[in-house]
Amino acid sequence: MTSNRTQLGIETLQRDAAALFSFVDSIGLHCYQDSESPTYLAPSVDFFKYVRELGEATKAYLNVFPSQAPGDRRLYQDYRQKLETIRSSWFELHQLIKPAADADTLNIPYTLVEALTRRLNWVQRFETTKFAILHFDELNYFEVPVSDIREATNRLRSIIPDAPAFRENLGLIGIPYSQSSSLHLNYLICHEMGHFVFQESKLKDKLLPHIETSIVQALYPQLEQTSSDDLDWSKDRLASWSEELFCDLFAVWLIGPCYTLAYVELFGLTTVLDPASTRGFSPTAGSLEFGRIHPADLFRLKQQVILLRRLNWWGEVDAIRSHYVDVLRCAVEIDDSELEFRTHEQPPDYSRKTLKAFLALAPRIMELVIDVMRDSKGDALEPGVSNYQRFVGPIGEYLRRAVVPSTILEGDDHWYPDPVALLNASMKFYLESIEGLMNTIEAQKTSLAGHRSRWIQRVESLTAKAIEDYQLLVAEKGALQVGSSFKRPNPKSS
């Protein structure tokens, strides 16, 4: 019997290497984003540069790949596997390039991203961390696990000796493309920064003994009858929920209650409010139910409120006249016994015990956040309440007059409110005072969602501008630091 099959040889290697070369080359062509326009934030430019460097190293390797094939044809098959490894790694990188290219500074809240990054840089061990932003189709925020990218690029490096390692301290965060210009909802970016911190600090490893202890205690006395697969399943659930909870608490500490209020908005949690109910709320189906990855929404809010109280933020939140805050009050009233975890993967009794194990673990997550949120001196990171208390009133007065609140006149000095104060004061203003602004504008009707939306966007852009100004003002020669605030003498008196 004769065969038409092509014999593997140097020529097929040349063809396969060339095909892969073209593929890598075509990706690299989309990474020349350091031209003048559109503009990208420095971390994005660095990400593109990295992919280009990796592409050049890969192409150089592919150029000589056929010529360095082993002489013995029987070894070709193994040798060709390297092409498959290279291809699979580049497949993973491929899906990140377009989302990164779409996220130029006109299409992301770049002032917010920079301010949040600078805030994160106050946290010990993350002083040089930076984030490239990506646009994704899903209406959700997520962090692209850097460990996955490192794994893919390390596979390349195991074959290509001069392939560069993925950048240290570079994280990738995906945001919904539709939220390119909003400010308030994008506070959720902090949660994704939390994932980066969680992973880079290897907190899962630190938590694992506690997770195991919790599970053992929750399953006792049936532990002996539990299979190792089931135990692993429970560990995975607890690890996922712990990471999500950590990220929430991390975000609250990083920027304060505006994160929590943005969370209420993004997930539409005001629907739990029910004046007809004796408790004032009727939890919706999903609000008390844990998912496979995420804890229940009302549980997450309750934990955030606990931290807000601990950080002395709660008094400020409680003073905001908004039904968003009512949702938080409701969340606090939730008893652990009301929480549920239903899954087809395990019998109800076992799922309940897994949930019980997590609820016992939750205080440990809080402690973990406290451990992580330290500044370069090792002190607890200043949560920013005092500056907020000082500036929230004046910022509101500026916003009510549609004025950028970047320079606040107080006594003989001009003060510059910091981003945490600005973000939280802006959120408060949005929730309770947007009508006050609209009433000063001719022919604007608070009853019209379209009109209201216009002024919400305006408040967001005024706030974003104030954050951008802040960086310029505090960097200017003559700006004086007083505690954690900056000021400059009024030019009239100087």
Partner: protein
Amino acid sequence: MAVLSKDQILNRLSLPITDSRSLAITPLLQAKSVFDAESVDLRLGTHFLLPRVPPQAFFYPGAESSKLGHQRAHIPLGGYLVVPAHQTVLGMTLEFIKLPHDVSGQILTKSSVARTFVVIETAPWIHPEYRGCLTLEIANVSNTALLLYPGRLVAQLILFDVPDGKPASLQGATYVGPVYPEAPKFLDPAHDLKTIGVDVKLRTPEVNRQTLGRCPECLNKVRPGTLSCTVCGCELPAS
């Protein structure tokens, strides 16, 4: 109407924002050197609108023009924008301005910039109570391309007192508080001229798109020929 002196400007800047006579300019960088005897120097901002070549052989100043006529550009501090010879671009001051109720202003090209044949502003008058970054209609009228650097001083703000000015509601919601350059917002010529009894002959397809039976402001359904919306009261494009 008199020009405000440096001291008068500084006095206004020292009034609390709750005082309707207060003036705000932020960020006021190099505060010691940006004041002249009767003016304040302003810097070029980082956002621009670049005019697009219109699909027709002309620019139609109608309701759709603000959506179609320009391309946005962000040039961060440290970067630069090339403006070819005889080309125009919409820019913005870096500074956000809030004028008092009894002060109007005029923005002029800084003389050093003007001597390079760049005109920074062609609609220079600023009404009392205006607030926002100032849109700059920048024209390079020279015979060579020029580089614009955001953050550089490009304009001078001169302020005038308006003795009879009184606090009032902010008018023209469209232009209150902008921090990015905004394209012009027109009603369609047919609407504008109908108010004085003139029928316009030339209408573009955009006009028809605008009048698909809904108010552009609140999206309420409106009858053809209606001049104002019954829900939000805004003026409607002519159908």
